[in-house]
């Protein structure tokens, strides 16, 4: 039995080396992000994960050198396996060949296949003896410029009356990105972005782009594990107190309910909120590592002054858009200082950490005096402290965090992932976030928008009897002890998901999903009293992909969405799409194409679908109304150094006179976008 397992593994190792698993990466990214994406803005930049995966594909992680953190960054490797791998290395000495992986517990062939492009066995090196000349000569430069725009004119550009709200800039989107890598331990990153509607070298954006972000990152230099000067992201524990950048949670990857914190990382995404700016470093002292951090940023907000000239702001802007005169006036109006320290202790499979930091603003936050805001944060300074742990022991991974906002509430999250059987794993997660718990940087697993005012218990199972079959299911029961937006009473709900996937090795897979969600909301009808009613959403999805040959593959999906709210009419929406992907092993041209048709009676039965885009970019746009969606992405390689991407995407709706809302309205029934991206590596 064991022998045959090893033989199969060895064969897979050989095969996997030869296959570039692009579509697997797509699937992986989609599985990790799709449920999170539904809660985020449509133009959210997910490139951080894709860029990281791409980076580790070009600079594979040295299994003999890693302390596990790089492996955590990949986000799809269970901590239990990482711990097993490190323990194996401690016990048996350094890996001589990648083939040794097959004796590490917890490795199945799917994980192996996903993992192989990102790992290697190499020799250690350091930056100590590297001269400036060598840095310039041997480093890799990567410059990428992206241009995009909506072809139709949005209403915000047509308004000429200067007293009305309108877009002050042009409809062009510009994004420039520069990376410099020396090996995998030194990186310089620079991002510049202008959103559609924002001015360029004019008005509020007189220095050119609306958003600049840069960082210098050095790591693995003796005691100094990480150092970032510039923009950075911190992720500790389960994200209750401090978590920047992209976080994952519920989804069809059940073990991902245990968040894998990456500690200190440079911030390289183009999202304009949720990061820190300044400096931070992680220094290691034996089993301890200490991460002091300091940040100063300007945030958006509509500042007003009270009679005693105190600056007051209702809320902090979260969109990063500065297109109208109001948005431009709010741009950078609030200053934020953050400083604090994290200390982490790691001994074998146990990690325990503590974080404390203060957030200080130069304006007092004072949300509207509504009942639902009764426990919201008010003030201009907040201390947060948290304790967290994780430990793996004989197939069981335990994790948790307790966080406190000084002077107000607590938040707790605890869970476990257990391999009950080689084919069956269980995930449990309990969360209790008090209504008066506050943090500016929390992203704990939650059904609501932040880890506050919520209690919930999640249980999930993964059954993987063979490499062909995977069944996942989870149930999440949650309640909100206090009022929320559009929910005028304490409320509760649940979320169930079950998905069955059948895979023909390297050829095709088909998966079926059913998701049931129930929540409470204010009744739509006018009533003399406040009444909550149940809102039910159900989703049925069948999707599959098929590899025709080394160059061509297909992907299809059919989806039904059912929406029911007491007192309102029931809705049923549907969608079907077909993708054609052309990606030859060699050759200069590659691309993909989608044709989708959809019909939903209203926004309530909307659907989200993963879309490919130009390199690093991907999105989950909303499909609603009746119509057709189609896009074409093309990539052409000019030699080894230069690549060009082009994208054309359009929505054509039926029976509508305008698309969008507010200043974004486009006359007619069509909205089309083009994008051109150029990358030069030298």
């Amino acid at each position: 039995m064991h022998f045959s397992r090893y033989v199969i593994l060895a064969v897979c190792l050989l095969l996997a080396y030869t296959v570039h698993a692009q579509s697997e990466t797509d699937l992986l990214v989609e599985r990790l992000t799709e449920l999170v994406a539904e809660e985020l803005a449509e133009d959210f930049d997910f490139s951080e994960l894709a860029e990281r995966l791409d980076f580790y594909q070009r600079h594979p992680i040295d299994l003999n050198r890693t302390d596990g953190r790089e492996l955590q960054e990949l986000q799809f490797i269970p901590q239990l396996f990482i711990d097993n791998l490190l323990e194996h290395r401690d016990r048996s000495g350094k890996f001589v060949a990648i083939y040794e992986l097959q004796v590490v517990d917890g490795l199945d062939m799917d994980l192996l296949q996903l993992l192989l492009p990102y790992i290697t066995i190499g020799v250690p090196h350091s930056l100590t003896n590297v001269g400036v000349g060598q840095l310039l000569e041997e480093g890799e430069h990567d410059l990428m410029v992206r241009y995009g725009r909506t072809l139709q004119q949005r209403q915000g550009y047509a308004i000429t009356d200067t007293t009305r709200s309108r877009y002050l800039g042009t409809p062009h989107q510009l994004f420039a990105r520069y990376r410099y890598h020396f090996g995998s331990d030194l990186q310089v990153a620079l991002n510049m972005k202008k959103d559609a509607g924002e001015a360029f070298f004019d008005g509020a954006q007189r220095y050119g782009f609306d958003f600049y972000s840069g960082s210098l990152y050095i790591r693995n230099q003796g005691r100094l594990k990480d150092l970032v000067v510039g923009d950075y992201a911190l992720q500790f524990g389960q994200g209750l107190a401090m978590w920047n950048g992209l976080g994952f949670g519920k989804g069809s990857m059940v073990p991902n309910v245990a968040k894998q914190a990456t500690g200190l990382r440079p911030y390289t995404s183009s999202n304009e909120v949720l990061f820190l700016r300044g400096g931070a470093a992680t220094v290691e002292f034996g089993h301890f590592s200490v991460t002091p951090f300091l940040s100063w940023r300007r945030l958006d907000g509509s500042v007003s002054y009270t009679v005693d000239s105190t600056a007051v702001v209702g809320s902090i802007g979260q969109t990063g858009l500065h297109r109208t005169s109001t948005e431009a006036a709010n741009r950078g109006a609030v200053q934020q200082w953050v400083y604090g320290t994290n200390v982490q202790y790691q001994y074998r499979r146990l990690r325990v950490g503590a974080t404390a930091y203060q957030t200080r603003l130069d304006a007092t936050i004072d949300p509207q005096a509504l009942l639902r805001n009764q426990y919201a944060f008010r003030g201009d300074a907040l201390w947060n402290a948290s304790l967290y742990y994780n430990h793996s022991w004989r197939g069981i991974y335990l994790f948790g965090e307790a966080a406190h906002s000084l002077g107000s509430g607590f938040a707790f999250a605890n869970g476990l992932i257990a391999a009950l059987h080689p084919h069956l794993s269980l995930a449990l997660h309990y969360r209790n976030y008090q209504r008066d718990y506050h943090s500016f940087f929390n992203q704990g697993m939650a059904e609501g928008s932040s880890s506050s005012n919520e209690r919930g218990f999640y249980s999930g199972l993964v059954y993987h009897p063979s490499r062909k079959i995977e069944w996942v299911g989870y149930a999440d029961f949650f309640s909100f002890p206090w009022l929320r937006y559009r929910v005028d009473a304490p409320s509760q709900g649940l979320d169930l998901l079950t998905q069955f996937t059948y895979t023909w090795y390297k050829k095709a897979n088909v998966s079926m999903r059913y998701r049931y969600r129930q929540r409470q909301e204010n009744a739509s009808m006018e009533l003399p009293h406040h009444l909550l009613v149940d809102v039910l959403r159900q989703q049925v999805r069948v999707s599959g992909q098929y590899k025709l040959n080394d160059a061509w593959s297909m992907r299809s999906r059919m989806e039904l969405s059912h929406y029911q709210k007491e007192g309102d009419s029931t809705e049923m929406g549907w969608m079907a799409y077909h993708d054609v992907i052309y990606k030859p092993m060699s050759g200069r041209l590659s691309g993909n194409f989608r044709l989708a048709i959809f019909g939903t009676p209203s926004y309530n039965s909307r659907m989200y679908a993963y879309e490919n885009d130009v390199l690093y970019a991907y999105s989950f746009p909303v499909y609603h109304n009746k119509g057709i969606r189609t896009y074409l992405n093309l990539r052409y390689r000019f030699g080894r150094k230069t690549d060009v991407w082009m994208r054309y995407a359009t929505f054509v709706y039926r029976d509508v006179d305008e698309v969008g809302s507010g200043l974004d309205v486009v006359a007619g029934n069509r909205r089309s976008d083009v994008r051109v991206q150029l990358r030069w590596r030298f």
């Binding site: 009950l420 069956l424 269980l426 149930a475």
Partner: protein, 264 residues
Amino acid sequence: MIGRCLILLLISYDSLAQTYLGPRFEAMGYTGAALQGIYSLTANPAGLTGIEYLTANISYQHHFLTTDITSQSALLGVPTRLGIFGLAANRYGLKEAYDETKVGFSFAKQFGTRFSVGMSAGYHQLFIPNYLSVSSLSVDMGLQYHFERGATIGFQYTNIGNADYGQDIYGIIPTYIRIGGSYPLAQVIVSSDVVYRLERSLGGHFGIEYRIANLVCLRGGLSINPMQQHAGFGIYWQRFMFDAAATFHPRLGTSPQIGLCYAF
């Protein structure tokens, strides 16, 4: 207080009384059609064939909302050459206000290594002081088929004749059909039931049991329609088995149950 409890008991009757199951089955998401053991006396009588020794059990349950609504049960399984005989007594109610008692006699027999059949006859009594006292008789039957690797499918028809207390009486004797499957994976048993109730509602149940070193069992489960979570554990010590379980209803709250078995 008693009056309020009585109202609560009556309005929540559907989700309470009809599905009394022993603590092990309760913790496993109210599954039981394809499970075996002494608690099969509260589920599929065919599962009684899993008993090897004379086994006695007592259980006690507090129901949702208040500690005043309780269930008590006593079970006895007697393996003989003919087959396995079972006796079950169960009381559900509110002290001095509402009392429902069921006494059942069961017989189960295994045919070959694969197939087992069970039958139960039950005497039901509903007693509400100063108001009524009625009784009725019901019959249940069950089948189980065991596959080679330990997987089992079960079928259970409870209250075959659709017996009741009479038309004017609120109390019901539930009638339902359950089809279930269970599958062992080393120390794990996964179990799932679908139940069809006579009032034309369909429910789903899912449960899992994880055994650690023949000493402790951890259990969990989920019921759909009504939506409830379940959890529990069992401790095995010599001839004793102690089981604890709890059902968590998102609105009604928690109902815990404990049970103690002794195998002679």
